[in-house]
Subunit: 335 residues, 2 copies
Amino acid sequence: MTRLSELGESHIISRVLGRNPSSTHVIVGPGDDAAVTAPEGRLVSTADMLVENEDFTREWLDWQKLGVKAAAQNLADVCAMGAVPHGLLVSLAIPDDTDIADLEALYSGLFDEAERTGAALECTVPIIGGDLSSSKLIVIAITALGTVPEGSAILRSGAQPGDSLYLAGTVGRAAAGLDLLFAGLRRETAGPELRPLIETQLAPRPDYGALRVIGASAMIDVSDGLSLDLARVATASGVGIELDRALLADLIDPLLPAAEFVLDARSANGTAATAEDLALSWVLDGGEDHGFAASAPSRQSPGVGWRRIGRVRTGHDVSLDGTPVPASGFSHFGK
Amino acid sequence: MTRLSELGESHIISRVLGRNPSSTHVIVGPGDDAAVTAPEGRLVSTADMLVENEDFTREWLDWQKLGVKAAAQNLADVCAMGAVPHGLLVSLAIPDDTDIADLEALYSGLFDEAERTGAALECTVPIIGGDLSSSKLIVIAITALGTVPEGSAILRSGAQPGDSLYLAGTVGRAAAGLDLLFAGLRRETAGPELRPLIETQLAPRPDYGALRVIGASAMIDVSDGLSLDLARVATASGVGIELDRALLADLIDPLLPAAEFVLDARSANGTAATAEDLALSWVLDGGEDHGFAASAPSRQSPGVGWRRIGRVRTGHDVSLDGTPVPASGFSHFGK
């Protein structure tokens, strides 16, 4: 084991950036005051942060997966604009007694996810800059940059009544995984049925490839839960959204064993709910899988990777089989 | 007092972004998955983070100044490339019992510094996106974006033997301010001679306006100290750098009263140093004022705001009046 405190900052940076891909868009990469790149078209930019003890805990920590998660939550936001990623800026604060091997695993996770995005969307996503500092807590703040042709960004505001509503990837699995972790299950001890849910919580894998084929009128990265994120689309577009319970079955049913496990673990506390109800609440309110929800004209086939889950209608709310769904996904601070 | 926990995330965001300027470059601002902007020329991007208890403490905290500091350290990096700022992405983790008025003061500091940059460089610097989450510790991660005409970025690697070496703004004042704070002095209790040094530590004010006039061959934001940052220029450019003690006098002499104060406070611990030595070490090794160091051909007048502090020569090290200066500015982790 070699602690970061035994190494110099520049040595650490050259170790962790060993896998950084070259990109024709990068004119000046890491090492100057700032990066210089050549974006084509419009610039798409987003920033998100993971803070130890808020967004993950040392107890569940898998460094490579943490890197995947940090990259995925930002890349998903860029891609949900219909953009192609261009580069990442990575600011990291980390204890100086961290093993360099753990830090390398974290950056491996970043590169793994960047490569996966690049393979799906035929682009290269280098780390173009950032910041490394010592801190008692681990904090990872990432900015993802991307480009989109002028006039082609897919916003939350374009949904039209009559559009179909589609989902690429999943919802609810990461939330189920989180409840399994809270119930005491761990990736190492979980069986083959439940372990993938914990994996999704620790390292979501958005379906970037599906984004190549949809002609979406509106799109959103579902990070806070369908109910809340679709309410954002409804508000931005001035429409209502109707979810179809039957079309969500393929998302709900695979979560039933996890719901039963969690309810068994909770039963000592006397929590009353059915496995069906819990699985449905994960699907409606659980983000962090980073599925993509999109509306598209119904006459049009959305392409591989997309499942229909409902439709866009007039109105201003989100409902499930006609019953309003409260926007109760994840929200920081009060409501 | 209204705590953040009593307000919703979207309400908080609309409160703190009330002063956000409009910009013709911004196509989609805060509120979608990502921002869409129209950069002209090359994109310049940089990211930096401030973590409570590492980069600042609650005890010294002035929310507006913290905002200034967070913005300045990123804007200075963009400007040190010869670029004009384009926008900021602000990721903030903050305790949910924070008073909304404190958060507004923090954003006021961000806007104050962005406006000051904009006034100096004739640009508008809106907040185009970011992330707000709750956390026990305050963490501010900022990405600054800017643009520079193709081929015009000023790198660390362009210094030529024979160039003069210039500084805009100051060095050493923030380091003196930090030592005054460690010695128990506070902004509120300091006299008019020492208070400005503490102010510089809490809220540096880079001289962005000076950047309009220099025809620099190389430039760096001095954030880690002259000795370390000039060593970076020397390495990147393959040159040596000679500092002139007489030319540094205007930077050193104003720090002597602070050095005497700090040495008096330390004397109980038996630390032996002269005020001259301490003031010189602040100037050589103290960053955080975010002065700009630049090389430029000697025949050329550098313009208003720049002072000559030395020259570029052949070699590979940094020296002061012929004596090598160890690169002992601020560095995270070991050496």
